[in-house]
């Protein structure tokens, strides 16, 4: 088993901010909109360097989505920035009609997703956003795993024509993917090869899955860890290839069990290759205030929970 090297600690939202600045320097169609959360979204660098391409919308997310659709109509590539809660549930109909149904080239960039938002509590900790967004026809849904990958994804989506939901988070998180990676939408990323179980993880829980695989290796269990950074379109081939080898599957995500990555993978298995499967996700409940690590432990999204799910699914083989 190869050792996954950690090269630093940074929040994924900084990956978005740095990626936006970089892509804006080479692509003059890129514009940014933010609903009064410029600092939280790390968009201030972009705002400083490109003041005429940055639009402060005030606390009016519905209007922001419409503005983005309008800017896209005239050929711009708008990146909207606000918290994940206000990027999805609050403006679902605006995204559905003005962006998705109208096929607008808008990049909906959403920070502070999931429990790891922490102390602000359940009003802001959206755990339903992946499900909401993946249900929209034509919407691409991306949830990168670390700073480097979020930066690479932010740059890559400018070259894809169509609506994209890009989800990232608030806490500092280990960096373990390369700084010079090429991000391919819809291409799953094999992180750790294994033979006994396939762990398909997304977002922050990719790191937790790597830690789980290391602990499992000490118990003699060979876990394959695959980073599903794109939930839609899903890399069906990579999922089936891994599952054919390991014959059992665990999914891990910072999201409700309903509607997230687990649902998508279960659909693939049910239709192609029915196998034992367990899901590490939030079990149909809201979150609460607390430190990110404490919340992940309380809501069973932590390394020991992934290990337990692996042991259970192997016993069902």
């Amino acid at each position: 088993m190869k050792k996954i090297e950690v090269t630093g600690q940074k929040d994924t939202r900084s990956g978005f901010g740095d990626g936006l600045l970089e892509v804006a320097r080479t692509n003059d169609k890129v514009v940014g909109l933010c609903a009064d959360l410029t600092g939280s979204l790390m968009m201030d660098g972009f705002q400083r360097e490109f003041p005429h391409r940055f639009f402060q919308t005030g606390i009016a997310e519905a209007n922001m989505m419409g503005l983005a659709a309008g800017l896209a109509t005239g050929g711009k590539i708008p990146y909207t920035g606000t918290f994940a809660n206000f990027s999805t549930g609050r403006v679902y109909d605006q995204i559905r009609q003005s962006i998705a149904y109208s096929d607008k080239n808008v990049k909906i960039c959403a920070s502070h997703a999931g429990l790891t938002l922490g102390e602000d509590g359940a009003t802001h900790q959206i755990l339903e956003d992946l499900g909401l967004m993946k249900m929209l026809p034509g919407m691409v849904v991306i949830n990168p795993c670390d700073y480097n990958q979020t930066k690479a994804a932010t740059i890559a989506i400018a070259d894809y024509h169509g609506p994209v939901y890009l989800r990232f988070g608030r806490p500092k998180w280990p960096i373990f993917t390369s700084a010079d990676q090429k991000f391919e939408i819809g291409k799953a990323w094999l992180i750790q090869e294994g033979t006994d179980v396939s762990i398909f993880a997304t977002g922050h829980l990719v790191w937790k899955s790597i830690q789980a695989a290391e602990a499992l290796a000490e118990k003699g269990i060979s876990a394959e860890v695959i980073n599903i950074h794109t939930i839609k379109p899903l890399d069906v081939e990579a999922i089936l290839n891994s599952a054919r080898k390991t014959r059992c599957v665990v999914t891990a995500e910072e999201h409700q069990i309903n509607g997230g990555l687990g649902d998508s993978v279960a659909q693939v298995l049910a239709r192609n290759l029915p196998l034992p499967m367990e899901m590490v996700a939030v079990m149909d409940s809201f979150g609460e205030s607390g430190k990110p690590e404490d919340l992940l432990a309380k809501y069973h999204l932590d390394t020991p929970d992934i290990i337990a799910a692996v042991q259970k699914v192997i016993s069902r083989k």
Partner: protein
Amino acid sequence: MAKLAELQTIAAQVRRDIVRMVFNAQSGHPGGSLGCADYFTALFFEFMKFKSQPFNKEGNGEDMFFLSNGHISPVYYSVLARSGFFPVSELATFRKINSRLQGHPATHEGLPGIRVATGSLGQGLSVACGTALQKKLDKDNSLIYVVTGDGELQEGQIWEAVMFAAHNKLDNMIVAVDFNQQQIDGSTVDIMGFNEIGNKFASFGWEVMHMDGNNMQEILEKVPQAQAKTGNGKPVMIVMKTEMGMGVDFMMGTHAWHGKAPNAEQFESAMQQLPVTELGDY
């Protein structure tokens, strides 16, 4: 005045199209469509600068139109067809399966002339503001024309856009609010009265005008005045008084024909009231 007579003829034909489309589909929204026929005709046949063939969806270098209250699609489709965006014969497919003329305007089927889907109310004005920003960024001096319903002003998002447009000096927009004072459940005064809407826009910093939207002569006088007010740091709005169902007596003075199709007898009556024109029915 030749121009006036010509536009009145087109508007008369547009009214026949509206009633025929809604009757043919046995569904749709004739009331607001009839009320707005004169203004749409004036915009598309007199005031807006655009090329209908080929349709340029990005609209660069052209005036752009956005219908925020998408349910009055019959009037929109009629003027689009009659100004050359697609064949007039296609109006017969309105609301039928496999048609590009969806119940509410959509880009999904590729209908030329449509740039964004509308129908869920309150969204079109925001999209229009986005294109107004884009035109300013690209130093494109064309104008953005928008029509919204008056009932639609009950949607909160409208006021987000109204605030944004004024704050960002989107003075390249002319927004006409179709002030017919009717909505599905009754008169706007009874459902959710908002007093003098012009004052509300003015207090946000908009340039406000009033116009009789069913008087072509007045439209020909007022729209150039609105155009003259653009470029002065303020978005322009017109409180456009119209009569829902204008031209068909039994559809006027009531909210009942907001979204209802006439039966065969009512259709015959409407066709007798709406003059035949040399343009001919589709």
